[in-house]
């Protein structure tokens, strides 16, 4: 009996240690260069990260800081949108309400998160995830995964801002790289950065917190405008919009973002583009 036990223990220990010497994955350093390099081509894949936040969300600033890190790494290929929506977004007394009706609709459309910080990357449900909402730890990995996929479209924004009457004319050019047969929708929205306002942080209330990439308005319906034109390879579909910009917004800090998404079985974003309103 004792011999059997010794034998079993030996087998278990041998079994445990036999594979300890694995070939470990090689980790590249994306932060080791200064971000310079050749300009990205028009067909380069761009990825959208939609962060859900709120002025009363104590952990959200660390998520926002992580997005800034990722923007520094991926540059123009990453497009950030911060949506003030959900339980933690109720404004403090006398504070501007950063919530928008469309932002709340998008939160409902994409699904409520389990916790904060949270973000959705390209509105895609990744393997092994319960839903579209992702915790901070995985954003960088999934963004890299999406950037490694082929672009299906070239998306380009041309805009003309009239600073006299605060009107913005936008032309969105959508060009399939190959024939595309599925249903797609186009979303056009405006974000603003450089907004100084109160935010709860782990160090307490920060009255001078800088809110970035804040969703201000969705020009199209919140879930996008259906593209009914035939999507043939290299045939550009043009969409034009005109937007009145409120005087309280700072044109120098406004961006216009367009993305095309699956209108079929998923909500996945295929391609996106971002342009400053004041070039």
């Amino acid at each position: 009996m004792k011999k059997s036990i010794v034998l079993i223990v030996s087998i278990i220990l041998a079994f445990s240690f036999q594979s300890c010497n694995e070939n470990m994955p090689v980790i590249p350093c994306l932060t080791c260069d200064d971000g310079g390099g050749p300009p990205i081509p028009p067909e380069a894949r761009k990825v959208v990260i939609e962060e859900f936040t709120g002025v009363r969300c104590v952990n959200c600033p660390q998520g926002s800081a992580e997005i800034e890190n990722l923007l520094a790494v991926y540059g123009e290929q990453l497009i950030a949108i911060s949506l003030h929506a959900g339980f933690f977004s109720n404004p403090y007394p006398s504070q501007e309400d950063f919530r928008t009706e469309e932002g709340t609709q998008i939160l409902d459309f994409l699904g409520q998160p389990l916790g904060f910080p949270t973000a959705v990357v390209n509105r895609k449900q990744f393997d092994g995830e319960d839903d579209l909402q992702l915790g901070q730890a995985s954003w960088g990995g999934y963004i890299a995964q999406e950037l490694n996929t082929e672009s299906k479209f070239v998306l380009d924004i041309e805009n003309d801002f009239n600073s006299d009457n605060f009107t913005l004319d936008v032309k969105v050019l959508l060009t399939p790289i190959e024939d595309f047969t599925g249903d797609v929708k186009l979303t056009l929205l405006i974000t603003e950065s450089g907004i100084i306002s109160r935010q709860l942080t782990p160090d307490g209330d920060n009255l001078d917190y800088e809110h970035k990439h804040m969703l201000r308005k969705i020009v199209t319906p919140f879930d996008g405008e259906a593209i009914n034109e035939l999507l043939s390879a290299n045939q550009t579909v043009e969409k034009n919009y005109s937007v009145d910009i409120p005087l309280t917004w700072n044109p120098a800090k406004l961006s216009i973002i367009a993305f095309v998404q699956d209108a079929g079985a998923t909500k996945e974003i295929f391609q996106a583009d971002e342009s400053k309103i004041e070039q």
Partner: protein, 554 residues
């Protein structure tokens, strides 16, 4: 999943058919007698929006108005085979995500088990654990929708009457899918007792090993995430993690001592408190780290006539063990770390609870019971939890006196004192330690063998968080069928933080039990709360509506 179930049904019918044919020709032996058993649990919620208490802004309150969760388990035994299948249903369920809505249904579990002499064979969705669960526990907890069944195979072999070896491999269940991390493990457990006639001691030793191997996709996500870190924060990553534990229960007369020690090799996990250097030179909390972990757990108990005492202690350091670094809260847990505080049952004494800290915790608990006479008994419990730097996380002193007047009435009373580190548990910056004093009393009066009345009253006094609360309950039972309960909770001295001034939270329940069936109907208004763990906050929304449930065993 459907395909697997059809295969299972085919196998089951083949066995049943063979048995029926056999019974026509032979006398049935005990093992050939087929046995079917099962259970049903069904919960139905109707949501009534109430903006005053914050029961709003979830899909259920906004438009769905209804949600249901149901589990139906069927077990079939014959010829030493145990075959089971479970149908799970979630319609607009808020169990998976209290703020969201989850709809899915299908076969949530199946298994086949067979003992061939000394060899035990199990396949399917399996519940099991190694030791006390520190390195592996596959279990189900329906109120939190935890279902960590191992979808795989398990073999056991009886080396002797008292010694058994076990090995298992599989994937962890994720609702109606599985995580792609491979989990495998083995354990050896035994039992040795004193051989002399008057020997009154025994030991039950065991060792266990569990390994997890992350998929290429999950590892790539880890690698790609670490790649975005600055050089000072960059860490290595591995596919495999190994966890070992050794445990033993010593019993000597009235004394019992369980101890378990576990070690986990270095792996990548998310530490919400680790400081990360940002691109612009600033820092912020939260990053992936690569560390090994340890945990020590022990419990001792001594029981004598009218007296019993138990002591538990636990030290945890970096012992988060999940399917991948990106799951949080109650998702993807491979192991189970036992809580070291009393499980309170009264409404107000259970309002503040100490959450298990995976990354660092030193805690202990002492529980003493004394029965002075047939009428009078006492219970005192003290528990304490701190982080590894000595910061107090939780302390509780709970006392209870029970007086039984024959079979006519029972009076239970006591007081609970708590210190609750709200800043840490709920990540509320600057929140003071919540200090509570909660006296409570319960009176049970039996009018007859069938008719009884139970009354509860509790008062939680605190100047922190939402302030003081009052709770009262009356329950009338007409055995064996009917139980009716009415209760209410009231924020009697709200602090400036609360939004709940002058709101009463009533609850009415009716339970009807007939044989093995139990039905309940409840009208509930329940206060909301935020639960945070490891830097992740989760809103447990207020509830307003009607709950119905059916439980049945057959």
């Amino acid at each position: 999943m459907k395909c697997r179930f059809y295969i299972l049904l085919t196998v089951a019918f083949a066995i049943i058919g063979q048995n029926l044919f056999a019974q026509e020709n032979n006398q049935p032996n005990p093992q050939s007698v087929a046995r079917i058993s099962g259970s049903l649990e069904s919960n139905i919620n109707f949501f009534f929006e109430d903006t005053l208490i914050g029961a709003t802004n979830t899909p259920q309150y906004d438009r769905q108005l209804y949600g249901a969760d149901t589990w139906l388990q069927l077990n079939y035994s014959q010829y030493g085979f145990d075959i089971g299948v479970r149908f799970d249903l979630f319609n607009n369920s808020n169990l998976l995500n209290p703020q969201g809505s989850y709809t899915a249904q299908g076969f949530g579990r199946w298994f086949i088990k067979k003992k061939v002499n000394k060899l035990g064979i199990s396949v399917g969705y399996l519940y099991d654990q190694v030791g006390s669960g520190l390195i592996f526990r596959a279990y189900e907890q329906r109120p939190l929708l935890i279902d960590n069944a191992l979808y795989g195979a398990r073999l056991t072999y009886d080396l002797s009457e008292d010694w058994q070896v076990k090995a298992f491999t599989g994937l962890q269940k994720q609702q109606f899918d599985t995580y792609d991390t491979v989990i495998k493990g083995a354990s050896l457990e035994g039992f040795v007792a004193g051989k002399k006639e008057d020997a009154n001691w025994s030991i039950a030793p065991g060792i266990g090993i569990v390994t997890k191997t992350m998929s290429d996709a999950a590892t790539n996500t880890v690698v790609n995430t670490i790649a975005t870190y600055s050089i000072t924060d960059s860490i290595g990553a591995k596919y495999n993690t190994y966890a070992f534990s050794a445990y033993n229960t010593l019993t000597a007369g009235r004394f019992s001592w369980y101890m378990e020690a576990a070690y986990k090799t270095a792996e990548v996990f998310f530490d919400p408190f680790a400081i990360k250097t940002n691109r612009d030179g600033s820092t912020s909390p939260g990053k992936l780290v690569n560390r090994d972990g340890t945990i020590f757990y022990t419990s001792m108990s001594y029981a004598a006539k009218g007296f019993g005492i138990s002591v538990e202690g636990k030290r945890t350091e970096n012992f988060t063990f999940r399917t991948n670094p990106f799951v949080s809260l109650n998702r993807g847990m491979i192991n189970f770390l036992p809580p070291m505080t009393r499980v309170n049952t009264y409404r107000l004494t259970a309002r503040y609870a100490s959450a298990t800290q995976e990354l660092g915790e030193l805690s202990y608990q002492i529980d003493a019971r004394y029965k002075a006479s047939k009428k009078l008994s006492f219970n005192v419990n003290f528990s304490s939890s701190s982080d590894l730097d000595g910061l107090t996380l939780y302390r509780e002193l709970f006392t209870e006196v029970v007086y039984k007047q024959k079979r006519k009435w029972t009076l239970t009373g006591g007081i609970q004192l708590q210190n609750y580190n709200q800043e840490r548990f709920e990540t509320k910056p600057g929140a003071p330690i919540v200090e509570t004093v909660t006296p409570y009393v319960e009176f049970l009066y039996k009018f007859s063998r069938k008719k009884s009345l139970r009354l509860e009253a509790q008062y939680m006094s605190t100047e922190e968080d939402f302030g003081s609360w009052l709770f009262g309950l009356a329950e009338m039972s007409f055995a064996p069928h009917w139980t009716m309960t009415a209760s209410t909770m009231y924020n009697i001295s709200p602090t400036k933080r609360t939004n709940f001034n002058d709101i009463i939270y009533p609850r009415f329940d009716v339970f009807y039990t007939v044989k093995a069936n139990r039905f309940s109907l409840s009208y509930v208004k329940q206060v909301e709360g935020i639960v945070c763990s490891g830097g992740i906050c989760r809103l447990e929304p207020a509830f307003s509506g009607v709950k119905m449930s059916v439980n049945s065993t057959f």
